[in-house]
Symmetry: D2
Subunit: 158 residues, 4 copies
Amino acid sequence: MSGTLNKVMLIGHLGDEVKVHYFEGGGCIGRFPLATNETYTNRTTGEKVTNTDWHNVVVRNKAAEICEKYLSKGDKVYVEGRLKNRQWQGEDGNTRYTTEVHVQDFTFLSTKKESLATGQGGMENAQQNPQMAPQAAPMKSVEPAPAEETDQDDDLPF
Amino acid sequence: MSGTLNKVMLIGHLGDEVKVHYFEGGGCIGRFPLATNETYTNRTTGEKVTNTDWHNVVVRNKAAEICEKYLSKGDKVYVEGRLKNRQWQGEDGNTRYTTEVHVQDFTFLSTKKESLATGQGGMENAQQNPQMAPQAAPMKSVEPAPAEETDQDDDLPF
Amino acid sequence: MSGTLNKVMLIGHLGDEVKVHYFEGGGCIGRFPLATNETYTNRTTGEKVTNTDWHNVVVRNKAAEICEKYLSKGDKVYVEGRLKNRQWQGEDGNTRYTTEVHVQDFTFLSTKKESLATGQGGMENAQQNPQMAPQAAPMKSVEPAPAEETDQDDDLPF
Amino acid sequence: MSGTLNKVMLIGHLGDEVKVHYFEGGGCIGRFPLATNETYTNRTTGEKVTNTDWHNVVVRNKAAEICEKYLSKGDKVYVEGRLKNRQWQGEDGNTRYTTEVHVQDFTFLSTKKESLATGQGGMENAQQNPQMAPQAAPMKSVEPAPAEETDQDDDLPF
DNA sequence: TTTT
DNA sequence: TTTT
């Protein structure tokens, strides 16, 4: 099937901390809300209107660990991924649907934790010596990693 | 405000006809479900898995009319737009949330109606002779139109 | 014709100031170089390699004025647009080709000039009272404006 | 480094066959020109203008082999990748610059070779029975493959 | 020529 | 629930 495209690109601010759930097998999944804003001027009233959209962002495995380590509430981030519908059972027994953005790539545009987190050599170095800083690769695009991951953990339940 | 980005790009097939609702003031809104597919091979079982995601696509005004006229169930289309959360009241009184893709640009990649609609020469021709098909701009990107529209009908309720 | 897509999205830093050329008819065109970086680790040597790509960014009319006013060398910006090939005559009489990114949308991600440029009310205000700050709409996405412009100045020579 | 984004997305038609160069080490690189069109109506004359942009598309390794096998001149394809500047020496000794689109992902939107290549069932089938068409993954997005490749052949000279 |  |  296919010949299809499913792509989302967002720049926004985290509305909350990254929440990571670790699986027994070693994988993990992280989630955070991301806010994007739209501003326009109402034609009739002339007043400026601001509208915020909230996106359910989902990151997995190494990407989740990196986000958990370096991103905080309020930080600005670029995320790229795909839209995914997830359905779940409400307490009333009815099926509910949620749309999530499953991240394939991201770039930090601001991080509160960054300066604290790095000593000399900083995060660049962390990438070259992953054993010394296993979860780090911040402030840079992490294209290869998530791409491989989407391929590697297909047995995870989403 | 802002410095944010909210962009979705999809290539998929219509799961149903375009449903258009016309407002009294002259505007209109169209909706259709769009399917994108994802295929991957399960690591453990080795079996090929296909997963379909359905997207709630929303088009407005002239774009809605063009889509209604030229798109049919099963057609393939490229749409570009922004994610929007819409909330509504369920019959049980609870608030429900739906994520929609509000279209800013689109390109038809296949249309069943095209040959019917235009005779020989098809829609390409229709574009070259707009007086013969005044409301048509099919098989081409209609960037300017939707962009202007998002600006023009901000008093519509979404 | 068409059913085609031509889209570029960049986040990068200005390598120089925005240079604007004003036409007699009232339009204008601005240009600036934008740098994007790519980092990877060489497999064989293990060394980290950084590669910079330079993009010829072109903005027009109001967008050009906004960029000229608020962007400086070193600033970070998101630009979205289309690739355009331009050919010109070299001094040796041979035809040369240059690829440009013609901007349709942009978002400032950092600006040196911003705080200097705004008094109380700041740039948000400038948008609501364009007569008081005719060329301003900084730190926000200016989607509608450039979109309309691409449509309006097609008699300009590019 | 980084916090930058370099992304190109094109839907266009091949202006020529895919030309692949095989390296001794086993890797390969493929190139083809891709045309995108832009149509607009000239404000002053009212005439419809069509403008074609040509893009130098570069694919590598497995992606190059797939493109060579399934794409022909005239076929429509979606490609996603990054802009890259390449410089080379002209015959006159001067340095020339070319901008290329280095593909990270692609989706076939039409292929002439497909029916020939796979008999009934077409390429969809080929995917389901990979042993019958081992190198095929056509008509589908091949995200993982190119992503891994960009990571694997960094010792190639571009 | 930018940035980290 | 973010940001300007």
